[in-house]
Symmetry: C2
Subunit: 324 residues, 2 copies
């Protein structure tokens, strides 16, 4: 099995050059005033397909054997990873299947289909996404593209950390803390590996959706966990059921802090990004920013990086940030 390390992230950066957006690291004097800290926002909602997931999917497909790639790829996803795999497959000219819960936002379903993917819907209450996916892998000879539990996926997402380190160096800033939304752990394991290598030791904070605080539990227990009860949530981008085994191996020795994002935190992040950064964020993409604002007292005078990871949101959900 491929080893995950900084070298693989550096390889991913070389492979992805010109294929992914080098998203800007934004700041706002008004936002800094509100938080009482120097805040740098990595605007991954501006990535192709509207979320960071495209980085990992592109690198994974680049590293597949052409014969496997040509037979097609499959994944399960609350949405953004599915879109990313569909778009990457489109780029490589190979078939793709995306397994999604029935209540996934319509924009995410539509986007997968637009890229040419076949969308297979399942009922979250009576079926398991792994089982549905496994049946299709066996019947069609597809290759599974994990949303997070794969060294290539983790390395692709890790290019965000390399870019942040470069962009902070350009403005002469040294980060004290980095905040990111976390579900399976692909973004966090990749980004934190890169940033700790490039920026030295820094506090890292994983933000989890209310009802999905599996990293908090896993880090306490010392082993990955899988949730049994999956409440409905608008913070769907970071509401997967499982901690990734490989991301857990990477993050366990780092011992990141965890924070719970409530819906109001996600909405606060969305309103803040709208007003001060002119970015559209989905609840899962805004949860880290909103939760940082809630916890701002701990960061007075510090330099904090926040990864805002996705912007795929239906207008009616977006409007709820003001009207709920």
């Amino acid at each position: 099995m491929q080893k995950f390390d900084l070298d693989l992230i550096l390889k991913a950066q070389r492979r992805l050059q010109g294929q992914v957006v080098r998203t800007p690291l934004l700041s706002s004097a008004m936002l800094n005033d509100i938080v009482g800290a120097d805040v740098y926002v990595k605007a991954e909602c501006l990535q192709k397909t509207g979320a960071f997931k495209f980085r990992g999917a592109m690198f994974k497909l680049a590293e597949l054997a052409p014969s496997d790639r040509n037979k097609g790829v499959i994944t399960y996803s609350a949405g953004n990873h599915g879109q990313a795999v569909a778009a990457a497959a489109h780029q490589w000219g190979c078939p793709s299947v995306v397994v999604m819960p029935e209540h996934a936002p319509k924009i995410k379903q539509d986007n997968c289909r637009w890229w040419g993917a076949e969308v297979v819907l399942y009922n979250k209450d009576v079926e398991d996404r792994e089982d549905v996916t496994q049946r299709l892998i066996e019947s069609r000879g597809l290759t599974f593209v994990s949303p997070f539990d794969d060294p290539f996926i983790m390395a692709g997402q890790g290019t965000i950390g390399l870019e942040i380190a470069e962009q902070l160096a350009e403005v002469g800033a040294t980060p004290d803390s980095v905040w990111l939304g976390c579900s399976g752990g692909g973004l966090a394991s990749g980004t934190l590996t890169a940033m700790r290598a490039k920026c030295g030791n820094l506090e890292s904070v994983l933000v989890e959706a209310e009802g999905y605080t599996k990293w908090q539990t896993a880090l306490q227990k010392g082993e990955p966990v899988k949730l049994e009860h999956l409440p409905k949530t608008l913070i769907d981008g970071i509401a997967g059921p499982a901690v990734g085994a490989l991301p857990f191996e990477v993050l366990k020795p780092i011992q990141p802090h965890t924070e719970v994002a409530y819906l109001e935190d996600a909405f606060q992040g969305m309103r803040t990004a709208f007003q001060y950064l002119k970015l559209v964020l989905e609840p899962g993409g805004a949860a880290a920013l909103g939760t940082l604002i809630r916890e701002k007292k701990r960061y007075e005078g510090k330099t904090v990086v926040v990864v805002c990871s996705g912007g795929n949101v239906d207008p009616d959900v977006f409007l709820q940030a003001w009207t709920h």
Copy 2:
């Protein structure tokens, strides 16, 4: 008087290095599919203070004599230029006054005050903004910072054109057409001068708000015009009363096309930027994009650049793009 030319724009780019955001040039496969063309969006809503105006204001203040700058600066503005002057003055540590119509969006008034500017409101129906401003210049010894009729302002905005040319070269694209919202003409004169120098001859399209089609009239008559009747409009970012004399001298030989943006076009641009680019645009910042979509039949298979120039919009106006 300072000459306006490409050299001044190049000087502005050197002076502004690290002081302004090099905003990304974004694209979306889905947007390209809708328009039937390769569309590149210059995301100037991500500029400091949320609009391109910061570029010109920063360069103008950089070029003032320190003794004049210390006495303070004044401007009139529908909002974005006012914010930009206030922020630039804050950066330089000098006083600033912004003269604004009473019905200017509250976010724009608040933002000017946040930067330390004194906001002077006037009644558009009974007073003239030039008269209000002139009284304050005389009584306080302030230096006027024109929103557009100034070679330094035009050159500052023109750095957008240099960046677009560089960013197109990075992806190997050659533009056929460039679309931008236009009111006084600072953005258009600067950007088109830079792009025509760097990208060769290309079609240029000035988009004007309904009721404010002063460039159409001016280019037909062969001289700058000033409107008498100023209807209320939500497309306030490009709804100034006058064509700038100096921008007119620059744009007249170029003979750009003009297009009228109706409110529905601006809303179309806002919805499109929300869905496919994850950008928040104000109506005036989205008018060019929405009008291009309306006129897309002319651009099949072409490469089109659109400057999306500002994102300072109150939530209730933003929501109207879906609910009106």
